[in-house]
Subunit: 403 residues, 2 copies
């Protein structure tokens, strides 16, 4: 019989106390369950006397993803923990430290990051994160390069593909990002004010053509071990620190999918600045900060990935053939642009939205933000395979915002 059961707070404290040498002798622990209860239990455990603390995250055997509870494999906890540990090795300091994983309880015990906030919240509050582009580009370049056929033993990579087969979490992405928004699906959710724009997506076969190609890449292109859900809600920040969390969607997929997630969520906040900025000048300034971040994220990723390739490339023909690196990097940019577009569109008309846009209280501003996001998203999808420079994406965002 399995030992698995959802932990009580008291049990969580007992497990924390049993961690060798973490809390001082005689620690007096308190636990608070801070998860959203949809997918996981998250215990925040604190020793009030020493001030030491940690996070315990336990997977629940169901999810409330499409409005009702459905069973969801506990195996995602193993994937998340293994991916976090690997990320910690490849990109030290950019993820929470994992202290222990309990495979019977599907429980990860890790560093408490309560001094950070969720980046999406910070951006909505108008905070700038000067280290973010540098940190996230390092995170992506290193985790993606060193899990790809360019940067790791190609036979070990295949074993890693096997270890990170993740059908149930991939299905969520396949349905919610690459299918529902482009048809009249019961999973969709959008404001009646933009019904016309949603319906236009369902009819647009040029858009469907590009989405079908991008969907196929998500289904078949095992390029590197992705985070798989790298939006600004999966990033804890302070102005000095960046920590990427929640890699339970990890699987071997196209590198551009992670990059596109970052770009998409910066641009969703860009659209939301319709409301969050207090005046036009503030709005233009913050939008400029966001597009600068998009530019920096790509350019720094591009530089770092190429530098890793030049120094650590293991694939003889890929490393020694003139022009191949440029071709490969341009293809990553194109994929990133296409995936960014899909991720923007789904956050406006699909099941799962972002508060950057959804929490705008003024109806007219919200509608304007939604239409702007859709215009940017569909433009990125339409043009993804022709993109030659990140500047094109920035131009699209700025010119649509100023229309």
């Amino acid at each position: 019989m399995s030992a698995y059961h959802p932990l009580s707070e008291q049990e969580a404290i007992q497990i924390a106390l049993s961690l060798d040498g973490y809390f001082p002798e005689g620690a007096s622990l308190t636990s608070r369950e801070i998860g959203d209860g949809n997918l996981n239990l998250v215990f925040h455990i604190v020793d009030s006397s020493s001030g030491k603390s940690l996070i315990m995250k336990q997977a629940l055997p169901y999810a409330k993803v499409v409005g009702e509870s459905w069973p969801l494999t506990l195996d995602r906890a193993r994937i998340e923990s293994d991916k976090l540990i690997l990320e910690g090795e490849l990109a030290p300091g950019l993820v929470p430290n994992v202290y222990k994983y309990d495979p019977e309880l599907y429980l990860t015990i890790m560093e408490d990051l309560s001094d950070h906030i969720i980046m999406r919240q910070g951006l909505i509050g108008g905070t700038r994160y000067p280290k973010f582009a540098d940190d996230i580009s390092t995170f992506m370049a290193r985790t993606l390069f060193f899990t790809s056929d360019l940067g790791m033993n190609q036979q070990e990579k295949k074993q890693r593909v096997k270890a990170f087969i993740n059908p149930e979490l991939c299905k969520i992405t396949e349905d919610l990002i690459f299918d529902d928004p482009y048809t009249n699906s019961p999973n969709n959710s959008f404001d009646p004010a933009i019904q016309d724009a949603a319906e236009a997506l369902w009819q647009d076969s040029q858009l469907h053509f590009e989405v079908a190609i991008l969907r196929d890449k998500f289904l078949t292109n095992a390029q590197a071990l992705l985070h798989g859900d790298l939006h600004t809600g999966s990033v804890f920040v302070t102005p000095e620190s960046t920590k990427v969390i929640d890699p339970e969607f990890a699987y071997y997929g196209p590198i551009g999918f992670d990059i596109g997630a970052v770009i998409a969520n910066l641009l969703l906040n860009f659209a939301g600045q319709e409301h969050w900025s207090t005046d036009t000048e503030t709005r233009n300034d913050f939008r400029r900060y966001l597009t600068d971040s998009v530019r920096d994220v790509w350019n720094l990723f591009d530089q770092k990935f190429r530098a890793l390739w030049d120094e650590h490339g293991l694939d003889r023909i890929a490393s020694s053939t003139p022009g191949y690196q440029d071709y490969y990097m341009n293809r990553l940019l194109q994929d990133a642009v296409g995936f960014a577009g899909c991720k923007i569109v789904r956050r406006i008309v699909g099941l799962s939205h972002v508060i950057d846009v959804d929490r705008i209280p003024d109806a007219a501003a919200k509608e304007k933000a939604q239409r702007l996001a859709l215009a940017i998203g569909t433009s990125l999808i339409r043009n993804n395979r022709n993109t030659q420079s990140i500047e094109e994406i920035i131009d699209v965002a700025l010119s649509l915002a100023n229309k």
Copy 2:
């Protein structure tokens, strides 16, 4: 302790006798080991009184692939047996029947096909196989479509990717097809007479660029469960029957790799007709038969794959978007052309050759055949991403042969 050990002929007979109801009571079995001894033991077991017979194939824990013995996982026997059984379900009548698989002995007991011959031998002898294009296109269309994201449940497909992770056999292909021929590798092997042509391959960075792209597809593009080694030595034929054997290289890869293998081996025989045909008219006729076969293989595959997609397509957006099927099929053709080119080149300058060319006794004819094969192969590689029609491939082969 494992029960595995290489079987003696006497043990093979005992196992054959223990097969429920296969041989009649009192059968008097003889066994002959007919394997090449490099990778597998193959026992041909016959009951002289009833005439019934079967084949027992047992994996050996080593291979003599690069001149010396190296350890090679026995797990390939599981992959081969599982793939054969699946092929039998998806393409009935086009593979040997599997009677039993013994996972401890890594032993597959299957239908005896001694009334067939290896197609490569038949083609060298000038025999035409009027059913081949129809049969092999059915085999490929059905095994590839129904294991792809287009034709099977996409979550079950991921589990199948996992079950067919095949690092050691893939490494053979990655090294011998997509690397060695393009550099001065000790694994290469070619006649001194074509030293200049081999060296030209090592210097040709335009060619390397295309090979790097094709290699990347082989490494990352998990489109469908491939046979993985579909040359004319893996096909048993009679004029009325086609049976595909030896799928131990099976893994999830790009569909064009299987199609390209068939095309490449027809064109290698085309090059070898320099010698095997007795006069110019016979040669031109047989070459025309071979290029007709190339055309038919692709066109019939294309028709059948599309028909399966139209009838059984499970991917909503891929099935309902105008133009996507045409785009997808053209990409398969382009991949097939590129992979065919790589497979031709490696059979002339790489480690493993084909008797269609290698057994040509006359030195001048052999050199001419080798140079023709290389010219065709490099042309296919160079032009793969621009190919729009199978006619272009046929034109290349015929015009180079007539130069």
